[in-house]
Amino acid sequence: MNTKLLMGNEAIAHGAIRAGVNVVSGYPGTPSTEVLETIARDKNRKIYVEWSVNEKVALEVAAGAAYAGARSLVTMKQVGLNVASDPLMSLAYIGVKGGMVVLVADDPGPISSQNEQDTRHFAQYAHLPIFDPSTPEEAYEMIIDAFTLSEKYGTPVLFRPTTQVCHACASVEMKADLYTNNIEGFVKDPKWVIFPRLSYQNHIKIVENEAKISEDFSASIYNRIIGNGTKGIVACGASFTDTMEVLDSINHDVKVMKISTPHPFPEGLALQFLEGLDEVLVIEELDPVVEENLLKLCGKMGLRISIKGKLTGDLAVAGKYSYEIVKNAIYQFLGRDMVSIEALVALPPLPIRPPVLCAGCPHRASFYSVKMAMKRSKEKAIFTGDIGCYTLGNAKPLDMVDTCLCMGAGITIAQGLQRAEPDSKQIAFIGDSTFFHTGIPGIINAVYNETDITVIILDNSTTAMTGHQPHPGTGKTMMGNIAEKISIENVLKGCGVSFIKKANPLQLEEAIEIVTAATNYKGISVVIFEAPCIAMSKPTHINHIKESCIGCKKCIKEIGCPAMSTNVDKVSIHPDLCYGCNLCIQICPVQAIGGDL
């Protein structure tokens, strides 16, 4: 027996390898990223792995491979599926030949996402089956069944772990049996071309299949009924383990139904569960998907059973469910008194510790140079931000992100603002990976519509926030090949941008001058700030505060570098954190900061 400590995402990756996956594509996004990275590290199998430019592209690459009979996997976070929803909705009608799994990681909380959208809705909307694992070890087994189901019905299958499964680790028993998928190749057939007549026929077919898959799911090992009683609890996905931990700690007759395949809803199993129950509590994170399915079922079958959950106010409509939330809901449902935990002595005041841009991060210098340029010109400016580490530029003292919506939206929101408020400067910030993801159409739009905005591209040569993935501008691929680097400057030229300037943001005065020239330019102007992410380079030297420091704290107040701190009136630089970026040296009014080279 080979038991390994695996993170949920690693377990899913090993499960996919065991299922004989041939082609894997994706776009990085917390909490999904490690699935693709783990498969890319597999040395034994000839699996093609790529980070695609965005989720739409990734899903289409995976679909193409599945058309030819390959088993394919595409990975993304929940908001990535919005980008990929165009191909997904139609692929549901067209179907696949090889097994295709669309892994979409949801993020209750949200912990590192823009929203709390629930991918189970997408499954219902697109008429696609969906798996919702409750633990890493279950996900390892489940992904194999997802591929099998996909081939049985010729349909893409959604696989939706949540953060609590993706980023938790567990002892996972690894199996040695590997499935080998022989790729038949693409067979020409009119069924691969979506036309209205075909869509009508396939619409009927996929709804018929939903009924069949619902029956399969009623018999699935991932859904089951535990215990007896007149009160029932339905526990879904990751909430199942919390529910069982609470129930294991009390002695109470209660019937539990675990649901890990929420769509098509396993009605057969649910009817068996509802038999003899008066009341049901549904515990599921994000939206009341299973709760609504049960209500529908009760309506359809004329059952008089009270279904409680989010819609009745018994559980929170938003946020991650902790053990305590689950416990409170269960105790209330079962009419048990809460045993209060002995209260702690009141805590002393604690410092707030929000995530910040790293010490030495070149984004800090980029934001600061734009801030200084606007301060000197005394013009009103709106700073539109985007998705990445640089969203953290909104924190004080930089305070340089006024808007943030979704991938690529900084450049385009700036254009709308410019139309409504032409007398202000609109300055959009976007990272290199996000530029390739969805930034380019916004650039073309501004050129075409002659919109007067400035775009600041923060090129740190990596996808930093999600853990340093390569992208088209880095010249590296997940297969280890060195590809042609795609030059952002050439892309901008090709799009017809006439004002393009490159600068090193850590050369402060020069950077401020270039930003000033860019914002004075009529029409779209672009500044590319080039400086690598500090996580990819070693510090050249460490700076320290000299005796001549007058304690004015200008350095800290202006740039908020986490390597700097004050104790009473003395500023100090933490030697383990300083990267020698020298931005503080250029800000100190009395030249009291220096470095040991």
Binding site: T3, L5, T30, P31, I111, S112, T135, Q164, H167, A168, C169, A170, S171, T241, D242, M244, E245, D248, S322, Y323, E324, K327, I341, E342, L344, V345, L347, P348, P349, L350, P351, I352, R353, P354, P355, V356, L357, C358, C389, L392, K396, P397, M465, K553, I556, K557, G560, C561, P562, M564, S565, T566, N567, D576, L577
Partner: protein, 195 residues
């Protein structure tokens, strides 16, 4: 046997690696293990809390409030922030060297170091407070606080395995070039009373 262990620190202190080493060692000792932690935004200098649940097959991956058998605090304010997780009789091991967040330097929030240390000293739990910085200097690097703390935890009998078990995990899981330094850190932690 079931042991719930919480590790609290700041991004960059090696909390996650320490939790992996505890989990891996527990697995080598035939325990079922679950762990979970904050990954992503919190890594950028934010708070990091790792949950390690040993012998926890039928459990959630996160420790419920008031249920941790022990907490290893890598930073005093972060240890206090997570006190609610600890059992009334839970053991507590904390490094006393504060990491002052830039928000405190900017005047956005205060860091009353003495109040925080006092709070830990007066906690109802059995507490071990150590000067991690000093021990790291002995070990030869400021980056090995995590392994030093593990060494202390083993010495104090907070974890159900031996120093040799942990050393084995370090040898099997860390890159070759890091093994000597980390083995040294484990020794320094184990003999912390001598320094």
């Amino acid at each position: 046997m079931k042991i719930d262990c919480l590790l609290a620190g700041v991004g960059g202190q090696g909390t996650v690696l320490a939790s992996k080493i505890i989990a891996q060692t527990a697995m080598s000792n035939q325990f079922f293990v679950r762990t979970s932690e904050t990954i992503g935004m919190a890594q950028r200098g934010g708070c990091v809390v790792s949950h390690v649940r040993i012998g926890a097959e039928h459990c959630s991956s996160s420790i419920p409030m008031g249920m941790a058998d022990l907490m290893i605090g890598f930073e005093p304010a972060e240890a206090v922030r997570s006190m609610g997780f600890l059992k009334p009789a839970g053991r507590l091991l904390v490094n006393i060297n504060p990491i002052i967040p830039v928000t405190a330097s900017l005047g956005g929030s205060s860091y009353p170091v003495n109040d925080i240390i006092n709070y830990l000293q007066q906690a109802r739990n059995k507490v071990i407070l150590v000067d991690g910085q000093k021990l790291c200097r002995v070990a030869g690097s400021p980056k090995v606080l995590n392994i030093v703390m593990l060494g202390i935890a083993i010495k104090e009998g907070l974890l159900p395995f031996s120093k040799e078990d942990v050393l084995q995990t370090i040898k099997q899981n860390l890159p070759q070039r890091m093994i000597a330094l980390n083995s040294q850190a484990l020794e320094v932690g184990y003999h912390f009373n001598q320094y």
